[in-house]
C-alpha cells in the first residue's frame, strides 16, 4: 500500500504570531515587522512538515481568519457579510455576499497563499472551500451557486498554477453535516460541477468531508473519481467499505481533542482499509488544526509519521 501524508486545513498560529497580530492591531508593530513574524511562522510550519515526512505540503494558512475569507477579499463582486458560527465550533466566518460581476484579484491571492516558501520539488496543497459549502454558507440558491463558486475556485487555482506541482483539497463539510446534506436529486449536478473543476486531473483533487458521516453521500462520493476525504471521528469504520472503489483520504487526527493519536487508536480503520481496491491512501487531520494550541497541533502532525509506519507494517 502506498500511503502519503498531508494536512487538511488552517493550522494553529504560534504564540509569537498571535502576539504579533495583537501588537499589529494596536499599531505597535508596522506591517513589515508583522510580515516577518508571519513568514517565519510559515517557515516553521514547513520544517514541521519535513520532519513529519509529509509529501503534500501546505503553507499552513496562518493568516486566514476563516476558510471563506479569500473569496471575500480577493474577488471583485463579493461583499463581506455578517459573522456566523463555523459549524459546531467556537470559530466564526464572514458570509460572502455576491453583489456584482465576479473577477479574481490575482495579486490578492498571493497574500493568502505563501507557496514560494514551500520546497520547490514538493507537491503544494491548495486548500479552498468546495462549491457546495460556499453555496450553502453564502445562502445562495442551489444549483446556481455551484456554478458561480466553482468558477471562482477554478480561477483561484489557475492563478496559482505558476508554482507547479499543485494538489487541490476542497473542504466540503456541508456535504456531510446533517443540516446541509444534499438531496439525492442534486447528486448529478454536484458530479458535473466537480468533474468540470478537476477536468482531466481527478488524481490531483481531494473532496474532503468532515463534521459528519459520509453515509448519506457515499453514493455520490464513490462516483467522483477523485480522492475522497473522510473524517474518522464522524464516520464509522464499516461505512468506509462503501467507498471500495475510491481513492481514500483518511482524516485520522481529531482536531478537537488534545490527545495525540497513536496507531492503536486508528486501528479499526486499518482493518477496513484492506477492503478498498485502490492501494493508494492519504492520511491527514480530519480538518483545521487551529482548534488546538500550536504545540499540540504540531505534535499531532508528527504523529502522522508513526501512524503511517504502523499501517505499512
Amino acid at each position: 500500500m502506498n500511503i502519503m501524508l498531508t494536512v487538511s486545513g488552517i493550522h494553529s498560529r504560534s504564540r509569537k504570531l498571535i502576539e504579533a497580530t495583537r501588537r499589529f492591531e494596536k499599531g505597535e508593530l508596522d506591517y513589515r515587522e508583522f510580515e516577518n513574524i508571519f513568514l517565519n511562522d510559515v517557515k516553521n510550519f514547513v520544517r514541521l512538515q519535513e520532519k513529519a515526512e509529509i509529501e503534500i505540503f501546505s503553507d499552513g494558512m496562518l493568516n486566514w481568519h476563516d476558510l471563506l475569507r479569500p473569496l471575500i477579499e480577493c474577488v471583485d463582486g463579493v461583499k463581506c457579510g455578517p459573522y456566523f458560527r463555523w459549524f459546531e465550533t467556537n470559530t466564526f466566518y464572514r458570509q460572502p455576499i455576491i453583489v456584482g460581476k465576479l473577477a479574481v484579484k490575482r495579486e490578492c491571492i498571493r497574500k493568502f497563499f505563501k507557496f514560494d516558501l514551500l520546497p520547490q520539488e514538493k507537491k503544494k496543497l491548495v486548500i479552498l472551500p468546495g462549491p457546495y459549502t460556499c453555496t450553502i454558507l453564502s445562502k445562495i440558491k442551489l444549483p446556481d451557486g455551484l456554478n458561480i463558486f466553482s468558477k471562482i475556485i477554478k480561477d483561484i487555482i489557475k492563478s496559482l498554477e505558476e508554482y507547479g506541482g499543485l494538489f487541490v483539497l476542497l473542504q466540503e463539510p456541508c456535504l456531510v453535516y446533517k443540516k446541509y446534506c444534499p438531496d439525492k436529486r442534486l447528486f448529478s449536478n454536484l458530479k458535473d460541477v466537480y468533474s468540470r473543476l478537476y477536468s482531466d486531473r481527478p488524481e490531483k483533487y481531494i473532496i474532503h468531508t468532515y463534521f459528519g458521516s459520509i453515509e448519506n453521500v457515499s453514493e455520490l462520493l464513490s462516483e467522483l473519481g477523485c480522492w475522497v476525504g473522510v473524517d474518522i471521528i464522524e464516520t464509522s469504520s464499516h461505512i468506509l467499505k462503501k467507498l471500495r472503489k475510491s481513492k481514500i483520504v483518511l482524516g485520522v487526527l481529531d482536531s478537537q481533542s488534545p490527545i495525540t493519536e497513536t496507531p492503536e487508536m486508528v486501528n479499526p480503520y486499518f482493518r477496513n482499509i484492506n477492503e478498498i481496491e485502490d492501494k493508494n491512501l492519504i492520511l491527514c487531520p480530519n480538518t483545521d488544526l487551529r482548534y488546538l494550541p500550536r504545540n499540540i497541533a504540531d505534535k499531532k502532525v508528527l504523529a502522522l509519521k508513526k501512524i503511517r509506519r504502523a499501517m505499512v507494517k
Binding site: 498560529r13 498571535i18 463581506c80 459573522y83 458560527r85 488534545p258 488546538l292 494550541p293
Partner: protein, 389 residues
C-alpha cells in the same frame, strides 16, 4: 422610550492594562486619567494618580478601575450597568482560573485575530475561589444605578473546553468517539452547574445581587435536540430555587434553533440577543430594511413571552460601506440615533410591547479598544432610546 443596558465588557483603560502588566504608566496615560476623571466628575480621582505613582494598595487601584467604568456608564445614562468586566482578563479565562480540575493549554483562534486560552479538564471540577464576588462587592459599593452581573454559563464553559478527563473515563463505555465526547460534555456541564456555579450564584445573591445575566454564546453550537435540552437543563438547574432576576445573553448563534427552546427556559426574565450584525444600515421599520431583526418573530411564534435585550450596536470591526445613517471611525461602525431608533421600534412592533424591550449592544464592546468610540456608540443608543415618538 426604551430602557437601556450594557451587555458585558468594555475596553480596559490603558493605565489599568499597564498596571496589571506591571509596565510603567506613561504621562499620556496619567493625562487620560485626568481627562476622564474631570469629564466623569469623579471625586478625588487624583488619589488614583498618586496610588499608581507609589505602586501600592492594589485593592484600592482595582476599586478605582471599577469606579471609572461605573461612572462612565452612569454618565452616558444607561439604566442598568455593571463593571464593564474590567477586572476580568477575558470571560472564559477569568472563570477557568478560579475553577479546579482545569489546565490551560495555550491560545487558540476564535474570531479573526481574537483568541482565548483554551483549557482541558484534567480532574473533577470544583470551585477553588469565588469567581465574581469580589468584583460585585466593589461595584455594589460604587454604583448609583441598578446592577446586572454577567457570568459565563456552564454550558459554554463546557463546550469551549477540551475534555480529556471525562472523555477518557467515558470512552470505553461509549459506542463511538463522538458519543463519548457528547457524554463527556454533558458530565462536565452538570459538574460545573453543581460544583461551581450554583455556589457562585448563591453567594452573589447573599451579597445583594438582584440580576444575573448568564452568558451562553455556545448555546446553539450543537443544534441536536438532546444537546439543546442539555443547554436548557443547565440554565434551569443553575437558576432553580433562586428568587432573583436571571437573563440569558447569546450572540452569533442560530436563532431558528434557540427560539424553539427559549420558551422552556425557566426563570429567564430576558433574552439579550445580537441583531445589529445581521441588519442593514438603512432607515426603516419594515421587514426589508430590518432584515436582521426578523428572527425576533421566531421567538414570539414559538411562544416565548419574556423580555428582550435587543442588540442595536455592531461591536466588531467594520469595513463595509456605512451608508448615510451610520459612519465609520477607526474601523468602528457608528450607528446614528435614527437608525438605532428604527431598530428598536421594529423590534417593539414584533414583540407588541415596548416595555418588554431594552436596548443594548450586540455583545461586549471590549472589541473597540477606545473609550471615546464606546462613549459615542452608547450615547447614540441612549439618545435613540429616549427619543420622543
Amino acid at each position: 422610550m426604551y430602557l437601556t443596558q450594557e451587555i458585558g465588557s468594555i475596553p480596559k483603560p490603558k493605565w489599568f492594562i499597564n498596571y496589571i502588566k506591571k509596565a510603567p504608566i506613561s504621562e499620556k496615560e496619567f493625562q487620560e486619567i485626568a481627562f476622564w476623571g474631570e469629564f466623569l466628575e469623579i471625586e478625588n480621582y487624583r488619589d488614583l494618580i498618586e496610588l499608581l505613582k507609589q505602586d501600592q494598595d492594589h485593592d484600592e487601584i482595582r476599586r478605582w478601575a471599577v469606579t471609572f467604568v461605573v461612572r462612565f456608564f452612569e454618565k452616558i445614562g444607561l439604566d442598568t450597568i455593571y463593571t464593564g468586566e474590567v477586572l476580568r482578563k477575558e470571560m472564559y479565562e477569568h472563570a477557568i482560573a478560579k475553577i479546579g480540575g482545569f489546565k490551560f493549554l495555550g491560545e487558540v483562534q476564535s474570531l479573526d485575530n481574537r483568541y482565548y486560552n483554551i483549557a482541558s479538564v484534567v480532574g473533577e471540577v470544583y470551585r477553588k475561589k469565588p469567581i465574581y464576588l469580589k468584583e460585585f462587592k466593589i461595584a455594589k459599593n460604587v454604583s448609583r444605578k441598578k446592577l446586572k452581573v454577567p457570568i459565563i454559563g456552564p454550558y459554554t464553559l463546557a463546550d469551549w473546553s477540551l475534555n480529556q478527563y471525562y472523555y477518557r473515563r467515558l470512552l470505553k463505555r461509549a459506542s463511538s468517539i463522538k458519543e463519548a465526547k457528547k457524554r463527556a460534555r454533558e458530565k462536565l456541564a452538570f459538574s460545573l452547574v453543581e460544583n461551581v456555579f450554583r455556589k457562585e450564584v448563591r453567594e452573589l445573591i447573599e451579597n445583594g445581587a438582584e440580576w444575573i445575566q448568564v452568558d451562553e454564546p455556545a448555546a446553539t453550537t450543537h443544534p441536536d435536540e438532546d444537546e439543546m435540552l442539555l443547554f436548557v437543563e443547565c440554565f434551569n438547574e443553575l437558576t432553580k430555587g433562586f428568587h432573583i432576576r436571571f437573563s440569558l445573553h447569546n450572540c452569533y448563534s442560530d436563532y431558528h434553533i434557540l427560539s424553539k427552546y427559549a420558551p422552556i427556559l425557566k426563570n429567564c426574565y430576558q433574552l439579550a440577543l445580537e441583531f445589529a450584525n445581521r441588519d442593514t444600515l438603512n432607515l426603516g421599520k419594515d421587514d426589508e430594511n430590518r432584515v436582521g431583526y426578523r428572527e425576533l418573530k421566531l421567538f414570539i411564534e414559538n411562544g416565548y413571552d419574556g423580555n428582550f435585550g435587543v442588540g442595536v450596536l455592531h461591536v466588531l470591526d467594520f469595513d463595509g460601506n456605512p451608508g448615510r445613517f451610520a459612519s465609520v471611525e477607526n474601523r468602528s461602525l457608528m450607528e446614528s440615533p435614527y437608525l438605532i431608533r428604527d431598530r428598536l421600534d421594529y423590534a417593539s412592533k414584533i414583540v407588541g410591547d415596548p416595555s418588554k424591550i431594552m436596548a443594548n449592544p450586540d455583545c461586549g464592546l471590549r472589541t473597540r479598544r477606545d473609550w471615546k468610540i464606546v462613549w459615542k456608540k452608547l450615547s447614540n443608543m441612549v439618545l435613540a432610546a429616549k427619543m420622543e415618538d
